[in-house]
């Protein structure tokens, strides 16, 4: 951005030159000579920068918080000294083009003009800017053409605390202006990551081993421990209704649970249980009475 300012500067100088040459034809032009800018540092040591309508100060003048920039020059209308109606020093923030002005005090006859510039003269907005371009505008009624010349850049240097202070001040000046009406930057919501299932292979392995366990159970039951259902006929003979009903009701209960798991809602399920439950209860009690009979006969 510094480069841009310099290019702008050169542009202005060019413009001014063209303007002067053009105006010279008509009549006098407001201009100035033996101009210099002196930065009076607190230490007393002062470094001066010379400049002229054609040659602005090279580089940027750093302006410390205690420094005072003293600009002094002699205003000329054409060739002899004079006092223009308008003699301002303009300080512009190149980014936003925000500009403020400082009238010079000019001696009527000698045309000697000067102005002192220090931090306390600059509004917070400009003070916090990285650099300001200074230009001089001279103009008045009458024939002589007015002129505007860029004379250089200044860098207001702030210590952090002061900077923070001025930033706050800046916000205060902005006031509601902070909510300037323009497009804001985009926002997109970031979602939480979904939980992941483990690799299928592990799942399948464990799945198979669980099922194998069931197989194992039946193996242990029937061949090894010699479990059997050989009392079934006896039971059926003793209680031909209740045994089948009991077992069927148990199965159907589990069936109802399966339906609940797959599609039914709670109320259908409860209704189903309400139907099957009593059956299980009555047939169960009968069946178990039969079992008890067997036990007391010592058959179990």
């Amino acid at each position: 951005m510094h480069s841009t300012t310099s290019s702008r500067m050169s542009f202005w100088t060019f413009f001014v030159l063209a303007f002067l040459s053009l105006a010279a034809a008509a009549s006098g032009v407001w201009t100035f000579e033996d101009a210099q800018a002196v930065v009076a540092a607190k230490g007393g040591k002062a470094d001066a920068y010379k400049f002229s309508p054609t040659k602005p100060v090279k580089g940027a003048i750093t302006l410390g918080s205690r420094d005072i920039l003293k600009v002094s020059l002699t205003v000329k209308e054409g060739s002899q000294a004079g006092r223009p109606h308008q003699a301002f020093l303009l300080a512009q923030e190149p980014e936003s083009k925000v500009e403020t002005f400082f009238p010079l005090s000019v001696k009527e006859l000698s045309g000697k003009a000067k102005i002192d510039l220090s931090h306390k003269d600059l509004p917070a907005f400009l003070l916090t800017a990285p650099s300001l371009s200074l230009s001089l505008v001279l103009g008045s009624f009458g024939e002589s053409a007015a002129s505007i010349v860029t004379i250089g850049n200044i860098k207001p240097s702030l210590d952090p605390t002061a900077k923070a202070l001025f930033e706050k001040q800046k916000q205060k000046d902005l006031g509601e202006g902070a909510t300037v009406y323009k497009a804001k930057d985009e926002i997109r919501h970031i979602f939480r990551a979904d939980p992941q299932s483990p690799p299928k292979i592990i799942t399948l392995f464990f799945l198979l081993s669980v099922l194998a366990g069931l197989g194992g159970l039946f193996i242990v039951w029937f061949p090894i421990l010699g479990g059997n259902l050989s009392h079934l006929p006896k039971a059926l003979k003793a209680a031909p209704v209740s045994h089948p009903f009991f077992f069927a009701s148990l199965l159907s209960l589990e069936g109802i649970f399966f339906m609940y798991y797959t599609q039914w809602n709670l109320f259908q399920t409860l209704a189903g249980m309400a139907v099957v439950g009593p059956v299980a209860l009555f047939s169960g009690s009968r069946a178990l009475r039969e079992v008890r009979a067997r036990r007391e006969k010592g058959e179990r």
Binding site: P195, F206, W221, L288
Partner: protein
């Protein structure tokens, strides 16, 4: 007397879960007494297999099966993470619940505990067992979604 012996059977079932503890007991035994804990365990085992009615063994087989299933499910949870958690809880607590219910059935229908369970005959115990299991299954199916 034999009736008393029957009581030891959960050792088969529980030993799978508490292997660590039994080994701990082994060390402790070494310190506590000269008798070798392994022989003791062996004795218990022989004792068990000799003098347990087949019906009880059937129950024990079921218990053992439940324990194995439970351990498998838990191991899977440890290995593969607990998502979805409700499914894990449903599956695991189904086996655990079934285990304790079956164990209760075993205890209740054990002649040795007649005195304890005056009001609970083996058939009554079985009825309770069925009742509880049905509720358990209902809860599990509801919970696994």
């Amino acid at each position: 007397m034999p009736s008393k012996k029957n009581l030891s059977t959960p050792s088969t079932s529980t030993s799978t879960t508490t292997t660590t503890s039994s080994s701990a007991s082994a060390t402790a035994a070494a310190t506590a007494t000269p008798t070798n804990p392994f022989t003791i365990l062996g004795g218990i085992f022989k004792n068990y297999s000799r003098s347990t009615p087949q019906r009880t063994k059937l129950i024990d087989a079921f218990l053992g099966f439940l324990v194995i299933t439970g351990v498998l499910q838990f191991a899977y949870c440890v290995v593969a993470g607990n998502y979805p958690f409700n499914a894990f809880l449903a599956g695991f607590s189904a086996t655990v619940g079934q285990f304790v219910l079956t164990a209760s059935l075993r205890i209740q229908s054990n002649p040795a505990n007649k005195s304890e369970f005056a009001s609970v005959s083996p058939e009554r115990a079985f009825a309770d067992f069925v009742f509880c299991s049905i509720i358990l299954h209902l809860f599990c199916t509801n919970f696994i979604n």
